[in-house]
Subunit: 334 residues, 2 copies
Amino acid sequence: MVKQVRLIDYPAGRAARDFWSFSGDALPALDENQIKVRIDWVSVDPGMSGWITDKPSYMPPVKPGEVMRAFGVGEVVETRSERFKVGDWVTGFLGLQTEAIFAEKAVRKIDVGQVPPQLFLSGLGMTGYTAYFGMMDIGQPQESDTVVVSAASGAVGGIAAQLAKQAGARVVGIAGGPIKCAYLTDELGLDAAIDYKAGSIGAALDAAVPAGIDLYFDNVGGEILDAVLDRMNYRGRIVVCGSISQYGDFAAARGPAGYMRVVTHSLKMQGFTMRDYMHRVPEAFETLAQGYASGSLKFREHVLEGLETFPDAYEMLFDGRNHGKLLIDIRGDH
Amino acid sequence: MVKQVRLIDYPAGRAARDFWSFSGDALPALDENQIKVRIDWVSVDPGMSGWITDKPSYMPPVKPGEVMRAFGVGEVVETRSERFKVGDWVTGFLGLQTEAIFAEKAVRKIDVGQVPPQLFLSGLGMTGYTAYFGMMDIGQPQESDTVVVSAASGAVGGIAAQLAKQAGARVVGIAGGPIKCAYLTDELGLDAAIDYKAGSIGAALDAAVPAGIDLYFDNVGGEILDAVLDRMNYRGRIVVCGSISQYGDFAAARGPAGYMRVVTHSLKMQGFTMRDYMHRVPEAFETLAQGYASGSLKFREHVLEGLETFPDAYEMLFDGRNHGKLLIDIRGDH
């Protein structure tokens, strides 16, 4: 029996714990140009909040009653496609389910010979690509730069911070709590870490970046952005990371109080999402895969086990309880 | 006798009507490398508000008791400089006064053979340069663009809007009241004008730019920026014009409510001031002077007469009562 997590209805706010149902449906026979995939790992992403609302977005919403959309990786177990043979590995929107049938065009083949398959959901997937293009194409860190990254122990921020460090910049990460901060300096090798829960973010920035900030990779907006803006150097750049838009309530999101500094210090703020860069994914993949292989890039994963953990996993994202890319290992559900 | 306008003290807010005194002092004899200049025209600029506060800024403040800083144009009437002869025309911070002595390095020679001298305070001065670099270097209007300019009948906005129109874009100007709006379409040849005082700015934008906005030249911030942001197209650009920072109260200036659209639509917001471009002034001057000579660029001036009009002139700027570059003709004061 195949297991699925389905959306019952659109939640009104972030809290969605009671909006999921678990089903166990049988699969039909394959049609031509279809494959059956056994799904081993699924990804829990902030973008999911945009898929369970009826507001217009860049993707159609998941409809009530449907299997919840999610990135996943899995192995082809049955095929009526000439493109895929049994034993091939694939990724794409495989959904929160243990097994499913897909049109051959709906998934992408991956090579898991060198790397564990779940990496295609973290550092070698959208998370890594987002960090790569945001930092390297928009931010363009220089050796002389002081770079600040918020949510720096998070899935995207951690990779973005490491890429800036590799470019020779001085990199300061902002994270919540001493454990995440120790990870930034001790594991990722950042120059300093700021615990935004420990006190005044402004005073901590004054101590960590006395000469101001040249490049800010913004994963969070809000008060931290305000404090950073006040300390941006002349001609500073702010990368407004795609994932920020997918946390919380769009309507409540407000702009930085220090808007005037954009003028007085000739700042540039630039937003992006991955749709700007889909045509350049191979470039990101190559860089990230090489970094991983050489040990110079670390991808932190936060792994839960079993589809039944999903309602809690989804809430963890918005509570900041995860540390690294949040994945669910569903091999035990098969 | 030479007449001057002096700052009595720093005003607490915008209202500065009672903070000016009028003096009539004699000038000392010239030292070496000095010139005496008869000043014919002075410029009233929003930037003045930043000079009459003790808050740190990009320029030192005018001290209480000093002659008020202002751009001006005038003629050399006495010289102990090898660089200047009697009859030369100069511009620079000549101050609110009818005659004054300057170090030769403090002023710049101008050629008034082809154009009236006061143009060096409007379209061929900082106002024109700000419009030019903001629109042409940062904004870079394309033929396929829909461009919106706020304060489009103002000194900077009017020139910026005409430059975008010349680049082939569709240009919509925002201004306050039917007279200014008629000027935008009838005199400047813009494609449409929106009277922000006439009703909902959002509804007016929906009617004027149904296909959205590609480039916004922001002279005002606030609610108009919010309404424009909601209608920015994918990969839109927002030029945050230098002069905006000099209107009103820095501390109260707030960022746009639609910050999230910066991400979802991959927008770029870029601020600038003229200090970024001082090295490229000749390029701007050339373009603007040619446009003026050929009649393709119109520079609107709002001229008052006499130094005694200054306290009112200063307040006009912030009330939006001026229409065009605000100048004072002080030839009658000599």
